[in-house]
């Protein structure tokens, strides 16, 4: 369509300001098409040579309208053809089905006449059984997707993702993200806690690489849930070994508490400060253990050993090892 417009566009004596495109020859009275047009159009072109000088744009409009009509007609015929092909295919399908069913009926009739009292073919499951099997396998598939941690479902205006978190075999919270896909990918609503830096992660990855976005978000959430689980386990099962309260925060990335260490039949309090520098990690990056000034020097070794332990092993497991070693 573009080419057709540019072809006839040229300076006309009555319209000195009309822009010309390259490739046309100036000085000709009529409009010369840049390439051969179908027969009927050429005829019409001849007709209107006389009037073209009065309105180049009017002529262009005419051409455009004609081209549009032609395109519409073309589309219509294509659509008809498509429909026809579809219906033909459907007819084929149905014929096949009919043949199959006919064969089945024949078989059954023969079977009934031939061997009465024979066991019906066990390999022919009933329609209901097939349906139940299909439902079961579909549910299993969905369950698998859910267990992988990130599952999604297309919604009316986009996608809804569900990020399920787990820590060492225990399934914990699920979080949801409702995304819109038009005109651009953006978050419509979500159930992500406010202390997870969702906006930052979205700004970095949501538009460019959605897989990475989900993966990073999932890492953050899993790590948070893991840290929280450890702290909860500590408070629940080992509160006897902690002196006072466990100081924590919403992200569970800074834990401070005191516990007692016995040496030479005396107990000394250790103060532990666990800093989780990596938001995607559920183990601390920095461990600071301090003891009272009157503690014996031998405890420094214990402190170092414990510090190393906290850095490598999950918090509640550390205390489990303490209690088992102590008793």
């Amino acid at each position: 369509l573009q080419e057709e417009e540019e072809g006839p566009l040229r300076k006309s004596s009555l319209c000195p300001n009309v822009a010309t495109s390259e490739g046309t020859e100036p000085g000709q009275g009529g409009l010369a098409p840049a390439f051969p047009l179908p027969g009927e159009w050429r005829g019409k072109m001849e007709e209107e040579k006389v009037y073209s000088q009065n309105g180049v744009f009017a002529h262009l409009e005419l051409l455009e309208a004609r081209a549009y009509e032609a395109a519409v007609k073309q589309e219509e015929t294509e659509r008809q053809e498509e429909k026809l092909a579809r219906l033909k295919a459907r007819v084929q399908e149905l014929r096949l089905q009919r043949d199959e069913l006919r064969a089945k009926v024949d078989l059954q009739q023969k079977g009934q006449l031939g061997k009465e009292g024979a066991v019906s073919n066990p390999a022919q499951p009933s329609a209901r059984a097939v349906l139940e099997w299909k439902i079961k396998s579909l549910k299993a598939m969905l369950q698998i997707f859910y267990l992988t941690g990130i599952s999604g479902k297309l919604s009316k205006r986009g996608v809804c993702f569900c990020i399920s978190t787990a820590y060492e075999g225990t399934y914990l919270d699920s979080f949801h993200l409702d995304l819109l896909t038009k005109p651009e990918v953006r978050i419509y609503r979500h159930s992500i806690p406010t202390f997870i830096p969702l906006q930052q992660i979205a700004k970095k990855y949501l538009q460019t690489d959605i897989r990475r976005f989900l993966s990073v978000l999932s890492d953050h959430l899993n790590a948070y849930v893991g840290r929280r689980y450890q702290a909860d386990q500590l408070q629940e099962h080992f509160s006897g070994q902690i002196e006072g309260t466990l100081q924590r925060n919403s992200l569970c990335n800074l834990l401070v508490f005191n516990y007692n260490v016995s040496s030479e039949s005396k107990t000394f309090p250790f103060n532990v400060r666990l800093l989780y520098g990596d938001p995607c990690c559920s183990l601390p990056t920095e461990v600071v253990i301090s003891c009272t000034p009157d503690a014996p020097a031998s405890l420094a070794e214990t402190a170092a050993a414990h510090s190393d332990l906290f850095r490598r092993v999950a918090l509640h497991k550390v205390f489990r090892s303490f209690s088992s070693a102590g008793e």
């Binding site: 969905l142 369950q143 859910y146 569900c162 409702d178 806690p193 830096p197 992200l251």
Partner: protein, 346 residues
């Protein structure tokens, strides 16, 4: 013990419903079990409070302990006050290591540097909520324990819940101290207010039930499994319509309980659209109008409007967007169609 402290404790105990006094005093932990045993909690409240004050006298309570009792009371009965939500902003991207001691120190220092006569008390709760009680004085008078503001802050979140007292003039000071202590840059008030603190938390922390479409293998809500006594002579003519309404309602409101807010206010600054021949207003200026919806539980009542037949489903998005947009005060200005003015994404 100071007379004012004694009076304050007495009045605080009087506020507590009689059946809860003992548990609250136990939570307080200032009086020993033995001491509590000596009080008869079945007598009239006046006498109970007198006995309690007596015991506090023995333990020489000071204003700090009395303030703690006050915080405990307000934590258990937060719905007696109106809470506003404030949102803080920051531009940095570093990970937050929220240190409680650091926070408390910075907050106290900032507040005290501007106003010496304040009583500040902190109390932390299991859900990472930090309650701050501030009793305000003036540069020349001691803090008035009956003019208190309460702040509830969850670490590492940008939201603060403030129940200011009568003295709104101290609010900028309070906001500044919060911003400094929590390492944010600025703070602004959201258009969200309610008596129910927990509901406000549910709204901004997105803990309310949003209806997400997922394949999560979660059991479907129990629908009336047992069919109502099927009398074949009764035909439900509007069954389809009823089901449509139920479906739409569920899509909008979700399945669970709604956050509890008591009112929604819409301030209209739109032009009055009338028949030009009627010419009600000769001046072409916006028709100012304030519409306020109030209810003991506004969102639940909105949820039941369509099923009760009092409104068409779906409801206007202006009503249903309240928890999603985290606001219940709206300004509607003249735009192409009725669109609410400046919106905030929570």
């Amino acid at each position: 013990m100071d007379e004012t402290v004694a009076e304050y404790i007495r009045r605080t105990v009087l506020k507590i419903p009689r059946d809860d006094i003992k548990t609250m005093l136990q939570k307080w932990g200032f009086l020993s079990e033995a001491q509590l045993e000596t009080v008869n909690f079945h007598q009239i409240k006046d006498n109970i409070s007198q006995d309690v004050v007596q015991l506090c006298e023995e333990n020489s309570a000071d204003i700090k302990q009395a303030a703690v009792l006050d915080i405990i009371y307000n934590n258990i009965y937060p719905n007696k006050r109106i809470w506003s939500v404030y949102q803080m902003n920051k531009t940095g991207e570093e990970t937050e290591f929220f240190d409680l001691t650091d926070f408390k120190k910075k907050f106290k220092r900032r507040l005290r540097s501007a106003l010496k006569n304040v009583t500040i008390n902190f109390r932390e709760y299991e859900d990472n909520a930090i309650w701050i009680r501030i009793a305000w004085g003036t540069p020349y008078t001691k803090p008035n324990q009956y003019k208190t503001s309460y702040v509830v802050y969850h670490s590492q979140t940008p939201y603060v819940f403030i129940s200011a007292s009568v003295l709104r003039s101290n609010l900028p000071l309070l906001c500044q101290a919060l911003v400094v202590a929590s390492n944010y840059h600025d703070i602004r008030e959201m258009e969200l207010r309610s008596h129910s603190l927990n509901s406000l938390k549910d709204i901004v922390f997105k803990r309310y039930s949003q209806n997400f479409q997922t394949y999560c293998p979660r059991p479907l809500p129990e629908r009336n499994v047992a069919p109502e006594t099927v009398d074949l002579r009764i035909i439900q003519e509007n069954r389809n319509e009823k089901e449509r309404i139920q479906r739409l309602n569920r899509e909008v409101f979700g399945d669970g309980p709604q956050p509890k807010i008591e009112f929604a206010q819409y301030k209209l600054e739109t032009m009055f659209k009338s028949d030009p021949k009627m010419d009600v207003l000769d001046k072409k200026e916006p028709f100012r109008c304030l519409i306020k919806f109030s209810s003991p539980h506004l969102l639940e009542s909105l949820k039941s409007l369509a099923p009760a037949g009092m409104a068409d489903a779906p409801l206007s998005p202006l009503l249903t967007c309240i928890p999603h947009k985290a606001r219940n005060y709206f300004k509607i200005r003249e735009k192409k169609g009725l669109l609410p003015g400046s919106f905030v994404s929570p």
